[in-house]
C-alpha cells in the first residue's frame, strides 16, 4: 500500500453562475483521504458538502464549475483529465451513494439490471455473469433471498433495502473510493445502524476509502477516522476524529456538538424540559457571506477583528487545522 493519500483535494474553489452573478460555493476546501480510511465531511445544509462530493465525481450540475484548486485520485489529477477518462473512473474506481434511496434508483429497470450495468460496462461481463455478480452483491449487502430480489423493481423494495441496493451498485466494481452522501438520513434509526455496520464490514473486506457526508456528529464518531467540518463553503476545522471530538477548537464545531440532542439512559437519563445549547442564526445563503470570518455573525466569541478580516488556517498540534481568529490569537499569546 502506498503512503501517499488516495484522494487529495487541494484549495478547491467551486462557483455557480446563477444567470445574474457568479457566486462562490466552495472556497479553498482542502482535505485528503488515505487508503482504507474514512473521512467524515460535516456541516449544516448549504455548507457545500454535497457540492464537494459532486466536484470529485465530476458530476457538478449545470452552472457550477471548478474555478481553481486540484483533486488528485491516486496521484492523478481528475480536473485535468478528459471527460471520457473521468467517466471510466466513475463506477469503477470511485462511486457514490446518494441520500434519497427512493428517487435514486431508476423505477423502470430491475435492481439486477441496475447493479449489473456497471459490471457490464467496466468489466465487460456478459448478461449472465453480470446477473450472477449482481446476486452476489445483493447477498453481500445482506438482502434476504437475493435470487428473487434481483428481478424486483425498486418500488417493490423498502427504503432500507433500496439503500442496500444503492450500496451494492456502488461497490459492484470494488471501487477504491466510495462517497456516501447522507446515506442514512432518509432511513429509520434501526435501519441506520444496520447500514453503518454493513458499510464498515464491506470497507474492511474491500479496503475501500469512504467519504461520509453527514450533518450528524454521532455518525462521524462512529464511522470516521478523520473529519473535516465545512461552514459556508470554507473548511472550518479538520483533523483526526479523536482530536476534533475530544478537543473541538472552532466555535462552530463546538456549537454543533453541544446543540445535538443526545440520548442518555439509566442513571444518566435527563429530566424532561432540559433545554439545549443553541447556535443562534442560520447558514447564510450563497452570496451573502460576511467579509470577515463567515461564522462571525453566529459566533458567541466574535469581536471586531473577526468581522473585519477572514481568518487564516492555523495548525494545532500535528494534524488539526482550524480557521479561527481566536485560536490564532491564543497561539500568538
Amino acid at each position: 500500500m502506498s503512503t501517499a493519500p488516495l484522494l487529495e483535494v487541494t484549495d478547491l474553489v467551486v462557483e455557480v453562475d446563477n444567470g445574474k452573478r457568479i457566486l462562490p460555493v466552495l472556497d479553498g476546501v482542502t482535505f485528503s483521504v488515505d487508503a482504507g480510511r474514512t473521512l467524515g465531511l460535516v456541516g449544516e445544509s448549504g455548507c457545500g458538502k454535497s457540492m464537494t462530493a459532486l466536484a470529485i465525481m465530476g458530476l457538478l450540475p449545470q452552472g457550477f464549475r471548478v474555478k481553481s484548486g486540484d483533486i488528485k485520485l491516486d496521484g492523478k489529477s481528475l480536473l485535468s483529465m478528459g471527460p471520457d477518462a473521468l467517466r471510466k473512473l466513475r463506477g469503477s474506481v470511485m462511486s457514490m451513494v446518494f441520500q434519497e434511496p427512493m428517487t435514486s434508483l431508476n423505477p423502470v429497470f430491475t435492481v439486477g439490471d441496475q447493479i449489473g450495468e456497471a459490471l457490464r460496462l467496466h468489466e465487460h461481463l456478459n448478461a449472465a455473469d453480470a446477473r450472477t455478480r449482481a446476486i452476489e452483491m445483493l447477498r453481500a449487502v445482506q438482502i434476504p433471498a437475493p435470487e428473487e430480489r434481483v428481478d424486483n423493481y425498486p418500488h417493490q423494495l423498502s427504503g432500507g433495502m433500496r439503500q442496500r441496493v444503492m450500496i451494492a451498485m456502488a461497490l459492484a466494481c470494488r471501487p477504491r473510493l466510495l462517497i456516501c452522501d447522507e446515506p442514512t438520513t432518509a432511513l429509520d434509526v434501526t435501519v441506520q445502524a444496520q447500514i453503518f455496520s454493513l458499510l464498515e464490514t464491506l470497507q474492511k473486506e474491500m479496503g475501500t476509502s469512504i467519504i461520509l457526508i453527514t450533518h450528524d456528529l454521532g455518525a462521524v464518531a462512529e464511522m470516521a477516522d478523520d473529519v473535516a467540518v465545512l461552514y459556508a463553503g470554507k473548511r472550518a476545522e479538520a483533523g483526526p476524529v479523536a482530536t476534533i471530538l475530544d478537543n473541538p477548537s472552532h466555535p462552530y464545531t463546538r456549537g454543533l456538538m453541544s446543540c445535538t440532542p443526545r440520548l442518555r439512559l439509566g442513571s444518566a437519563a435527563l429530566t424532561p424540559g432540559h433545554t439545549l445549547a443553541e447556535v443562534r442564526g442560520m447558514v447564510p445563503p450563497l452570496g451573502q457571506f460576511e467579509a470577515g470570518c463567515r461564522f462571525s455573525p453566529r459566533c458567541p466569541m466574535a469581536d471586531a477583528h473577526c468581522h473585519a478580516a477572514p481568518p487564516p488556517d492555523v495548525h494545532l498540534g500535528a494534524s488539526q487545522t482550524v480557521l479561527c481568529w481566536k485560536v490564532t490569537q491564543e497561539q500568538a499569546a
Binding site: N18, R254, T275, E278, V279, R280, G281, P300
Partner: protein, 302 residues
Amino acid sequence: MSVVSMDKSPSVAEPAVVLASKPQNPQVEALLLFLRNGTAALGLSMMAIIVVMCLIGPGLYGIDPYAIVNVPFAPPGTPGALFGTDFLGRDILAGVLIGGRPTLIVGCVAAAMTIGIGVLIGCMAGYFGGWIDRALMKFTEFFQVLPALLLAMVIVSIFEASLLTITLAIGIVGWPQAARLTRAEFLRIRDLEYVRATRTAGARDFYLIFNTILPGALPPIIVASALTTGGSILFESGLSFLGLGDPNMMSWGVMIGQNRNYLLEAWWTVSIPGIAIFLTVLAISLIGDGINDALNPRMRKR
C-alpha cells in the same frame, strides 16, 4: 451575551432573525414575469390587434361582407377589393373582418364553459374522493370515449345550427380534460400540510375548496384555459368548415368551407381566412406559453 448557553432558556424572546424587508407576493411576481416575457407580449399585442379589428374593422372598412361588390374570383390587389373576392364576388377582407366575431365569441364562451364545467367536476371529484370521485370519473370517462367532433356535429344538426347550439356543443364535449387536470391537482394539493393546517384553523369544505386548494391548482388550469380557447376556436372553424356553422353568420370557417371547391382557381379565398384563424390561435398559444413560463417554478429558480 453567550448564545451557546446551557440549561437556561433566554427569558426574553430571542432576537428576531434578520428578515427580507420587502414582501414578494408570488402572484404579483408571476404577473410581472408574464408581462416582461417576450412571447407573451407578442401574443398579447397580436390578440389585441385581432380583437380591435374584429370590433371596429367592419365599421371602418364599410363594405358589406354579404354584398356582391365585384366579379367573382377577383384576385387580391384588385382595386376596391384588397384581398380579392370569393366565388360570388363578395369582398374577402370584409368577410375576414366580420368573420372573426362569431369565431372569437364562440371560442371564448365555449372555452369558459369547458373550463367551468371541468373545474367544478374536477374539484368535487378530487376534494371529496370516494364514491363521488368514482361516479364523476366514470361520467368523465364516458365523455372522453365519445368522439367530440362527431357528437358536436350530431348535436348541432339535431338542434339547428346557431351560435348558442354550437357553443353548447363545444362546451359539452370539451370539458373532460379540464376535469381530469383539476382533479389531479386537487389530489396533489388536498393532502399537503397547509390544507390540513387550514382545516384545523376551522375552515369549512367550501372555504377549503375555493379559498385554499383551488388557488394552488390554478396555474396549470390557466395554461390549459389558453389552450382550450385556441382549441375551441379551431373546433368552431371545423364545424363551420363542414357547413354546420350558423348559416346566418359569416365566419372564417364558413368562408373556407364555401370556397374550398374553388381552391385551385382562387387560392386566396381559402388561404386568407385560414391565415386569420391561424394567427388568432397562434396569438392565444403564445399567451399560454407566456403564462406557463411565468408560472413554472423551475424556470423561475434559475
